[in-house]
């Protein structure tokens, strides 16, 4: 906690947080060893998605909200279609439900490997980027890139393209793949299972700072499955409600000097979403192989060290590859690509698990299906208070490091969250003022 008083004061400045998607800023003041975060905000320009969605047709929501984030468009498409479908009383079942899980597996693999290897691993090994890292570890980077590509292959096949796929709609899909098309993915996915296992073993051997925190973990929880699209909102500190109760459990706070809306648990404060939360709340839903790999990697059934999120991302990648193989094996092409429904007025909620954490959408529609009101809570906005808490802990633990090393450690702490800053619609530039 309290660091011994030091006579000198220092100033460190990080003007642009690299290897995150989007932009934000952190200003820190250090006086006589006391650390104070004076600003932690997002200077990603506001784009006003909720505002301009009003007046658009319900069917526009998956295509438009995908553009909130180029890294996890499937998450936006999934949360929006499930919110709309809850209004129309559409229940996704059978092969269509399984295809939605499969395309989500693709996004998890692609996004997790991108983050773990291209954005996060260089911090552990002291490289500026994966490209610098490749100069010394080319085979490992190439292996990771191939694994990432296999995730993208799934999204490509079902969705049409990796970024902003075009095939997801309210009620299902425009077109479903044939069994044979999906089966062509199998040999690569079998290779990916080994590669993702290698990734777990590699990252488990990294040196981790001994930093733990008493997080309130929140994720979507399903009775039988590791969560993607369906389930209740559950935390390790007592939350257990249906998705429609979102606004009774969480509130959004507009932080001064920031374009970000931060979410907090009402009357309690910060919470943490993403791989560590999912893992710690749903360990028993992971496959036996993943549970065994976790034990071998030295993890318990819960994990409270944010730096170890890289290992959990790789474990979730193994899970997603296994799940993809299972889904493809079980797939029977459905008779039609969508289910019929009748448009009606009402309010709907959707919460699904983006790679970087839970993503909530709420819409209110008129009787023609035009959007009257929209609310979107991206994962990074939800974890933002938790990130700020972590930064304070890292500052207190490492304040004696030279400026450049401290700055890097702070950036590393932010990257633990795989923050998608443009997806926090409403992210890091670090300035440390030591007087």
């Amino acid at each position: 906690m309290s660091t011994p008083s030091k006579p000198e004061t220092r100033a460190i400045s990080v003007d642009y947080l690299a290897r995150v998607e989007g932009e934000g800023s952190l200003k820190v003041r250090v006086r006589d060893g006391q650390v104070e975060i004076t600003e932690f905000g997002i200077f990603e320009p506001p784009r006003f998605y909720e505002a301009f969605l009003r007046g658009r047709a319900f069917g526009d929501a998956p295509d438009i909200t995908a553009r909130i984030c180029g890294i996890c468009p499937i998450a936006y498409q999934m949360s929006s279609v499930h919110a709309m479908e809850s209004i129309f009383g559409v229940k996704m079942e059978g092969a269509l439900r399984e295809l939605r899980r499969l395309i989500y597996c693709g996004e998890w693999i692609e996004s997790h490997v991108l983050h773990a290897f291209l954005l996060h691993l260089p911090d552990f090994l002291g490289y500026q980027s994966a490209i610098h890292m490749a100069a010394d570890h080319r085979a490992a980077v190439e292996k990771a890139l191939r694994l990432k590509k296999i995730g993208n292959d799934i999204v490509n096949l079902i969705g049409g393209r990796e970024i902003h796929p075009i095939n997801v709609k309210v009620g299902g899909f425009y077109k479903v793949p044939t069994k044979r098309q999906l089966e062509e993915l199998v040999p690569n996915l079998e290779w990916a299972l080994e590669a993702a296992t290698w990734a777990v073993e590699l990252t488990a051997g990294l040196p981790f700072p001994e930093v733990e925190a008493d997080y309130e973990y929140v994720s979507v929880c399903h009775p039988d499955e590791y969560p993607f699209n369906e389930g209740r909102l559950v935390s390790n500190k007592g939350i257990d409600v249906p998705v429609s109760e979102w606004n009774n459990v969480f509130e959004e706070v507009h932080v001064a000097r920031s374009n970000a809306l931060q979410s907090k648990v009402r009357a309690r404060g910060s919470y943490h979403v993403g791989p560590l939360a999912r893992y710690s709340l749903n360990f028993d839903k992971l496959s036996p192989r993943v549970q065994k790999l976790a034990a071998a990697a030295g993890l318990g059934k819960t994990c409270f060290n944010p730096f170890k999120s890289i290992v959990v991302r790789c474990l979730e990648t193994v899970h997603a590859v296994e799940e993809a193989l299972r889904l493809i094996d079980a797939y029977r092409e459905p008779p039609r690509p969508d289910v019929p429904f009748t448009v009606k007025a009402g309010e709907g909620h959707g919460a699904t698990e983006a790679p970087r954490g839970m993503l909530y959408h709420r819409y209110r529609l008129d009787d023609q299906g035009y959007i009257l009101d929209a609310q979107i809570c991206p994962p990074t906005a939800q974890s933002q208070m938790s990130i700020e808490d972590d930064l304070r802990r890292v500052l207190e633990a490492y304040i004696d490091l030279p400026d450049d090393q401290l700055q890097w450690r702070l950036e590393h702490a932010v990257r633990n969250y795989d923050p998608c800053i443009s997806c926090a619609t409403h992210f890091l530039k670090v300035e440390i003022d030591r007087g």
Binding site: A18, R19, S129, I163, H164
Partner: protein
Amino acid sequence: MAKPKLGVFKFASCDGCQLSLLDCEDELLTVAGAVQIAFFPEASREYVVGPYDLTLVEGSITTPHDLEAIKEVRAQSKFLVTIGACATAGGIQALRNWKDVAEFTSYVYAHPDYISTLDTSTPIADHVAVDFELRGCPINKWQLVELVNALLHGRKPNIPTYSVCVECKRRGTPCVMVAQGIPCLGPVTQAGCGALCPAYNRGCYGCFGPMETPNLAALGEWWRSMGVDDRTLVNALRSFNAYAQPFREASDVYAQQA
């Protein structure tokens, strides 16, 4: 010879277009070998000062800060290429251009006074000279590889400006408007996606923006004859390339009639 310096800059956007470079899994390390990645904060902490031989700009101009920043980026760039619908047309966030931004700000934020934003979202070319543009929401990564390759060899990038219809014919996709009665923006939209949507039994939604000299009036009448109401027509034209001139002007005409 020194390797050409690459800079990647971002304004208001989703990061998807610059992600396209990282999505070139098989080509990334080769490209990184051929150019010096001097500034690319999504991928690297390294910051090498300009000037840059090739600058890729993603995103649209929406804040007073960015209005100044783009001029500095231009001053540091030999060859400036805008990538994607935000940078080339203002993006989906240009929907504000028809609305009251003060109302938008108070709808989304509890403290509108903390928000610094312009009334409009505008393309990069409205503010500085642009040497080349890649369309799409998102861009096609093969067009990006072609662009980098062409510039490395000092030739013009081979990027077609004809319509999506040509790609449908080449792909062998039967016309979704004619064969299935699905309204499609393909006839007025620039190629580049590979005519993706029609191949998935849906109409093109115009994410590559207007082709050269599109006939919006003819397409609008065609849509109307298929029973599409004007509100739907206006919304279709006002999406990711809403503020591109042909789409903008046609949408204004139909909005008056709706």
